[in-house]
């Protein structure tokens, strides 16, 4: 262990002679036909980063457009396509796969002491499926785009929109299968391939979070696939399913859509919560406070998340009594999240806290996620939801969860495991600076939107009354800062792959099996399968906690 630390301090070159998963073989074929979970994680990392910046570019254009009440940049038609494609790309092609497909793919086998996932070829297939879905969606974007909103509400999407609804929906439909396969792969791997001694309650909480996420992948994704398939049937063949003019029920679509899409919110945030537990423990050198409460709260969230979809439909004409039930269940799902936040905070108590970049992202996550979660109470409350539903308040709320929460955790995780993935360190000063820029830019972008929503400005408006301009300009200014904040890590992370100092196996002196193997890891992950002798996050014990089999 101590030799590894000396390596960083001396800035010794990476063990260039050592064979690891990155230099085991070369050439485009060795990547496109790989079954190594670590290489597939990198394939995903490249693809979702591309999608993130495409979706982000749409957001920047939208915010520029909204600087003026009459719209500064584009026609309303184009604006409608911008927010639709921003939503679809960010939700289905970035947030849903983000942590599971990159960090999850890389870490699940390493954290449980396995050599790969249970089904390596299925894993590669899921990446190809993702790519086919992404290509469909990007093709549809170039050939005219869609203007239905990412929610595809009927009968607008099935009978009235004149845009490329079917290709876009088909892209989302296809990509869903990659989620299902990844979920299956993780569940089987976590059940069957844990190293000797690694019992369920010795697992890192990241694994618990991945397990909970996988369950939602498997149970929820088929529903959105079926829903979009029915939408396609109605649009192409005029079979009356959702359009009342041909005998359908438009509200049925919303039930089906949110039955997946609310749990999908937890697909996006649960993995971030898993990352948080790893970061907070490492950078305070403490065992997680309340391991079982944090672990079981992930499972509770996964289960309850399937029972709250109706809170998206309080003003749809749903019965008052249905509203009451969905309201109480929505309050219930808030409690496991609160438990997690309190436990992370308590973990810092009497710890040894350092402020490296991943920890700054983690602290940003706790604050913004708390804010996002609490503003959810406004929307679970029936009386206030009536006023706030469909306004910018909703937009602000879910961006606090999805960007303030999920994206912060994703970036924190990338910074934390980057040395493991690439074997190199990035400049910590720049990384801390970027974290700060992102935090400031984020708040300036989205806090004014809470105020806009309460004042009554509806979302998805290409033009708006002049009285809302000040807050819109503030939000747009924040968005430009946020955009720059996201570009900085892209630059220094790419730079570090070539020029960064060697990281050594465990630069953070973290616990966890993934840190017990060299960086970058060998293709087989471990020279010998470790035998686990201690609980997760046993930071009080300086020894590795594994016995060599």
């Amino acid at each position: 262990m101590s030799t590894a630390v000396t390596d960083i301090r001396d800035g010794a070159p990476a063990e260039s002679s050592r064979v690891h998963y990155l230099n085991a073989n070369y050439g485009i074929k060795s990547w496109l036909l790989t079954t190594d979970h670590k290489r597939i994680a990198l394939l995903y990392l490249g693809s979702i980063t591309l999608m993130f910046f495409v979706g982000g570019a749409f957001a920047v254009l939208m915010r520029l457009h909204l600087i003026q009440p009459q719209g500064a940049l584009v026609e309303p038609d184009t604006y409608n396509k911008l927010f639709t494609l921003h939503g679809i790309i960010m939700v289905f092609f970035f947030l849903v796969p983000s942590i599971p497909a990159t960090l999850g793919n890389f870490l699940v086998p390493m954290m449980i002491g396995a050599r790969d996932l249970a089904f390596p070829r299925l894993n590669l297939l899921s990446w190809y499926i993702y790519i086919v879905g992404a290509i469909f969606t990007l093709y549809a974007t170039i050939s005219g785009g869609a203007d239905t909103g990412w929610t595809f509400y009927t009968p607008y999407s099935s009978g009235f929109s004149h845009t490329q609804v079917v290709p876009v929906a088909l892209g989302v439909f296809i990509t869903g299968f990659s989620s299902i396969l990844t979920g299956l792969n993780f569940v089987v791997t976590i059940h069957k391939m844990r190293a000797p001694g690694l019992t369920w309650f010795r697992l890192p909480l990241f694994i618990w979070a991945m397990y909970a996420t996988s369950i939602i992948f498997i149970l929820g994704t088929p529903v959105i696939a079926i829903t979009l398939f029915l939408l396609g049937l109605e649009r192409l063949l005029h079979i009356g399913i959702f359009d009342p003019a041909i005998g359908g029920d438009p509200i049925l679509f919303q039930h089906l859509f949110w039955f997946y899409s609310h749990p999908a919110v937890y697909i996006m945030i649960l993995p971030g919560m898993g990352v948080m537990s790893e970061l907070v423990t490492c950078f305070s050198r403490k065992k997680i406070f309340g391991y079982s409460f944090v672990g079981f709260s992930s499972m509770a969230i996964a289960v309850i998340s399937f029972l709250v979809w109706g809170h998206h439909m309080f003003v749809s004409g749903q019965s008052i009594y249905a509203g009451l039930i969905f309201s109480v269940l929505s309050f219930l799902v808030a409690i496991p999240s609160a438990i997690k936040v309190f436990n992370w905070t308590a973990t810092l108590y009497k710890g040894s806290v350092s402020y490296q970049a991943p920890m700054l992202y983690a602290m940003g996550f706790i604050g913004l996620f708390t804010m996002g979660g609490l503003t959810g109470l406004f929307l679970a409350s029936l009386a206030t939801d009536v006023h706030l539903n469909g306004t910018y308040f909703i937009v602000a709320h879910f961006h606090y969860i999805m960007v303030g929460g999920a994206v912060m955790a994703y970036l924190g995780g990338i910074h934390f495991w980057w040395p493991k993935i690439t074997g190199r360190m990035y400049p910590d000063g720049w990384a801390r600076f970027a974290a700060l820029v992102i935090f400031v830019g984020f708040n300036l972008t989205f806090f004014p939107q809470f105020m806009l929503g309460y004042l009554g400005m509806p979302r998805r408006y290409a033009v708006y009354p002049a009285e809302f301009q000040v807050l819109n300009v503030m939000s747009s200014a924040g968005a430009s800062i946020l955009g720059v904040g996201y570009l900085i890590p892209l630059i220094y992370l790419v730079w570090s792959m070539r020029y960064g100092p060697a990281a050594g196996p465990n630069p953070w002196r973290a616990k966890g099996l993934e840190w017990e193997t060299p960086s970058p890891p060998p293709t087989e992950n471990f020279d010998e399968i470790p035998v686990i002798t201690e609980e997760a996050y046993d930071y009080a014990n300086p020894n590795p906690g594994v016995a060599r089999g």
Binding site: S327, T370, L374, T384, M451, L455, Q469
Partner: protein, 331 residues
Amino acid sequence: MTGFIQSGFDTLAAIQEGIPIRPPAASSIAEGVDRLHFFLTGLTLFFTALIFGVIFYFMVKYRRRSEDERPAETEEHLGLELTWTLIPTLLTVVIFVWASSLYFLNSRPPSAAMEIFVVGKQWMWHLQHPEGPREINELHVPMGVPVKLTMTSEDVIHDFYVPAFRVKKDVVPGRYTSLWFEATKTGIYHLFCAQYCGADHAEMIGWVYVMTPADYATWLSGGARNESMTQAGERLFNRLGCVTCHIADGTGRGPSLVGLYGKQEKLRSGEVRVVDEALIRQAIVNPNSIILPNYPPIMPTFQGQINEEQVLQLIAYVKSLGPEERKSNAK
């Protein structure tokens, strides 16, 4: 480019005038909703400050002082876990009860409410007063009188939203939804469509004019003399030939509609339904789905031949044949 610069100046000027933080509150429910809103805002700020505060405190107090620090393990604390599970649970129970009872109250229109009919279509609002006046993207209402809106859509889902009243409800094709409000302050307030409905969604906006009852009466009687909704409905009833089968004394090929509104009817399928707006609408657009026993299924559909506003006029006419009229005939 000059446009951008100009908007910069406009923004600065507006900041000097102060950013609004509260929308006008002009209905009987607005204050109650705002009280809950402010309570939740306070709660959010309190807990966010608490969590941030504790994190900062711990980060400074327990900052790493040497690279080799190995802090001792903290014992798990069941009492603490239960405390921070129970406190949020109790808080959410309080909020749930408060918010739900308020919503329950806000959702029930008083029985004496005046009725106005709303039809949304891409991208405009059609509003119809029973007395006859019809408006587009403007709604005139009297202050201090409960108003119930019965709403439907010609095409896609819209949403009727008046921020100053804190009311909102989706306007759904193929069915009726309703909302009610009682305006408490005269003035002009925004009307927005709050459910995305296509290209000009952002232009599907209008104004609600709240007037004193006296001004409202003047407004109703002014302008071109419209026929009332009931009269328009009766004219349609005759023109479309409904009258040839639905003969008032019950001798026609279809049931008499006199005194039908509000009654419970047993359908041929065995289902018992109350004759309300939704049922009458269904009978007009999809008649074979609700045949009464003893009558043949011979009525043609009128879907596509009349628009939603005309359906509403026919309903107004059928309602006018309702129980009240029957009573007065009996005298």
